[in-house]
């Protein structure tokens, strides 16, 4: 018990308390620190880069959760069917998940290149105009989400496949006898039964997406301008490029509170869903 407590205190509680303490100080590397109370927090709402970063984080997270969920569920339903070569294709499908994010990011950076990239070449083959992808403020976040989606759809698929395997065959059989369409069977039987799995997948994706750093940093560094700067990237700049540890800590504290709130909402929704499911059963 005591060793566990010491470990928790040393690696979780102490850093947190220290971060909160730093956030109450004007703490710039190389200069003396002074206590400033809540001044760093007061700066936040008036800092347009921070406010923008919140918006970018929300958009990036929402898209990076939703798209892999939709595509992953679809892929799971497809790969749940029996067809020749299924095992092999499943293996191929989950390969993006195994690659290192930074390596992927560098490859995608070249693929996105408006003049030399393969994506615009592919578009030209089907007669579509060239796009600017990550090189334009309006398209940068969706383009980054494309990379996230490509890499993490397989994870959602794996989780949902587990859920599908657990569904008994009877409800589907009786639905078939009653003449339900494929969509109806999915909507009214499969979907409610895999919802708990979707929540888990969604939660894992959300945690991953909200703290995403590597892909964005390696591809755009938050640019063009600050069009893809999420809270994480801004926090990194403030703390480790501007060396403003006090203000950076204040951002970290606010970011932590946002994440806790988001997690609480998801947990609440999940509990409610389970309750409905049991109630309906």
């Amino acid at each position: 018990m005591v060793p566990a407590l010491v470990v928790v205190l040393a690696i979780i509680i102490f850093p947190w308390l220290f971060t909160i303490w730093m956030s109450l100080n004007e703490w710039k590397v190389g200069t003396p620190t002074t206590f400033v109370g809540l001044a760093n927090f007061v700066r936040l709402p008036n800092d347009p880069r921070f406010v923008e970063a919140i918006g970018h984080t929300i958009l990036y997270t929402a898209l990076s959760v939703l798209l892999p969920l939709v595509f992953g569920t679809f892929a799971a339903v497809v790969f749940h069917q029996k067809f020749p070569g299924r095992g092999f294709l499943r293996g191929v499908f989950i390969m993006p998940m195994m690659a290192t994010p930074v390596a992927i990011a560098l490859v995608w950076t070249m693929m996105f290149h408006p003049q030399l990239g393969v994506l615009n070449y592919l578009l030209s083959l089907i007669g579509l105009p060239a796009q600017l992808w990550v090189f334009h403020p309006a398209t940068v976040i969706p383009s980054l989400v494309l990379v996230e989606t490509w890499q993490w759809t397989p994870l959602v698929m794996l989780i949902v496949l587990g859920g599908l395997a657990a569904i008994p065959a009877e409800p589907h059989e009786s639905a078939q006898i009653d003449g339900a369409s494929i969509w109806q069977a999915f909507r009214y039987i499969t979907l409610p039964l895999i919802t708990p799995f979707l929540f888990i997948a969604g939660m894992i994706r959300m945690i991953d997406a909200v703290k995403s750093f590597d892909i964005i940093f390696a591809i755009t560094q938050g640019g063009p301008g600050s069009a893809s700067e999420t809270i994480n990237l801004y926090l990194y700049s403030v703390a480790f490029i501007y060396y403003d540890l006090g203000y950076g800590s204040a951002i970290a504290v606010v970011f932590f509170i946002l994440i806790v709130m988001l997690a609480a909402v998801l947990l609440y929704l999940r509990q409610r869903t389970v309750w409905t499911e049991i109630g309906g059963a």
């Binding site: 004007e26 190389g30 880069r49 003049q115 090189f135 334009h136 560094q221 063009p224 600050s226």
Partner: protein, 440 residues
């Protein structure tokens, strides 16, 4: 190798004729007490790149001359800067000698007192070879190395001038002359742009932060200064607005699509593929441009000065130095190493390998050294740039914030933002940061 060995022995024996240069990097007539610190072990932290390579490649010669053991590591630039700051702030850095990026770290290091004052060492004949004198460094180098009180806190190592690279073949094809002024450059760039063929007149950094290094060339040539006498930032004045309009025109009317996200790497890719006719960037890119395995424009590249503006002609200058951590216990030994790193022989090797340009005039002005440089046109552009060099960034502590905020304003103009409005907005954010950091 052979003559190096001979002269090294000569140094040890103290008998060789003056003027012979050895692997050790010093004229043999000079005899500080090289061996006094034999057995000392030095730790060096370097930013990854040709400067670090050049030091590591020849370090054995230094050890043989002095008996000082040197452990060095090269870390990618960004991470090296972070590691240095964190370790220096801790008061107990793991290194004695540090590779400093002047244009980013000068003020920060000075204000925090992290570097040892070496002015005294430079005057001490037991420590310093006679040819290492302040006046041998270019003005920009001294401006970087000295603090407000005139103390030398580092030795200027390698300088980056911004130059204009141009594709001779594209210029010839369209019958366009190499521009001498910024106005001519805009006209030329527009003439050279042919989106149907996928070729563009100009390419350069559009990416926030990185783009400042390009923009300041225009700003300085429009007569801009970074700070007034009281230390107030001036980069939203009329000169800045004009420079930004030029930047906006070039990068939106004559540059490849997506340039707002280009750093030097993407710009170079476009230039080496023969897709862009002009590129303004740091002077260190000749080796990759002339490398047949990486470039389609080998032998077709012209090297010249950044064109003149209405108020003058300057080349934005950035640079690196090598200094001693104030907390080091081996300062004299560390000084010997710094001195060797910027020695004429080491500088010659750096220049001839195309890896950088030494701050020392005695290297650049030496006809023998010049003869050894393969790309003479490049060399000439560098020598000419040295004469019109001017610091490319304001010397303030929050340089990174400045580059990010004003850089973001510039990027915003590429998607239609109004230069004056964007600059004003950026400076409203930057001024309080500057005030806070300078008053602390």
């Amino acid at each position: 190798m052979k003559d190096s060995l001979v002269s090294r022995r000569a140094v040890v024996a103290g008998t060789a004729a003056a003027g012979i240069l050895g692997l050790t990097g010093f004229p043999v007539r000079a005899e500080p007490q090289w061996k006094k610190y034999a057995g000392t072990k030095l730790e060096v932290i370097l930013a990854k790149g040709p400067r670090g390579d050049n030091l590591q490649k020849y370090i054995k010669g230094f050890t043989e001359l002095t008996g000082i053991q040197v452990e060095s590591e090269q870390i990618p630039e960004q991470q090296q800067r972070q590691k240095c700051v964190i370790e220096l702030a801790s008061g107990k850095p793991s290194f004695d000698v540090v590779h400093v990026s002047y244009h980013v770290q000068k003020r920060q290091f000075e204000k925090a007192g992290w570097l040892a004052d070496i002015s005294g060492y430079m005057k001490d004949p037991n420590l310093t070879v006679p040819d290492l004198v302040e006046s041998d460094f270019s003005a920009a180098g001294l401006q970087y190395a000295k603090n407000g009180q005139g103390q030398m806190l580092s030795l200027p190592w390698s300088v980056d001038y911004f130059i204009l690279y141009y594709n001779k073949e594209l210029f010839q094809k369209k019958g366009v002359a190499v521009p001498k002024t910024l106005d001519e450059m805009v006209v030329a760039a527009e003439k050279l742009t042919d989106p149907k063929e996928g070729t563009f007149g100009f390419v350069g950094r559009g990416l926030r932060n990185a783009n400042m290094a390009l923009w300041t060339n225009f700003y300085l040539n429009y007569g801009g200064e970074f700070l007034d006498d009281k230390g107030n930032i001036l980069t939203d004045g009329p000169e800045a607005v004009e420079a930004t309009k030029l930047y906006q025109t070039l990068l939106t009317k004559a540059a490849p699509p997506g340039v707002a996200g280009f750093n030097w790497m993407e710009s170079m890719a476009s230039f080496t593929q023969g897709r862009s006719a002009m590129w303004i960037d740091a002077d260190g890119w000749a080796p990759p441009l002339e490398d047949p395995s990486a470039s389609r424009v080998v032998g077709k590249v012209g090297y010249t000065l950044v064109p003149a503006g209405p108020k003058g002609q300057y080349s934005s200058t950035y640079g690196d130095g090598i200094g001693i951590a104030a907390a080091s216990k081996n300062k004299e030994a560390a000084y010997l190493l710094c001195q060797w790193a910027v020695s004429k022989a080491q500088g010659t090797r750096l220049l001839q390998a195309g890896g950088g340009v030494p701050f020392r005039n005695s290297v650049l002005d030496d006809p023998e050294v010049r003869k050894g440089v393969k790309n003479q046109e490049w060399l000439q552009s560098v020598i000419d740039s040295a004469k019109i060099s001017k610091l490319g960034l304001p010397v303030v502590i929050p340089v990174a914030e400045f580059r990010d905020l004003v850089g973001a304003a510039l990027t915003a103009t590429l998607s239609g933002g109004d230069p004056a409005t964007e600059l004003k907005k950026a400076h409203e954010q930057f001024r309080p940061i500057l005030e806070r950091s300078e008053k602390a």
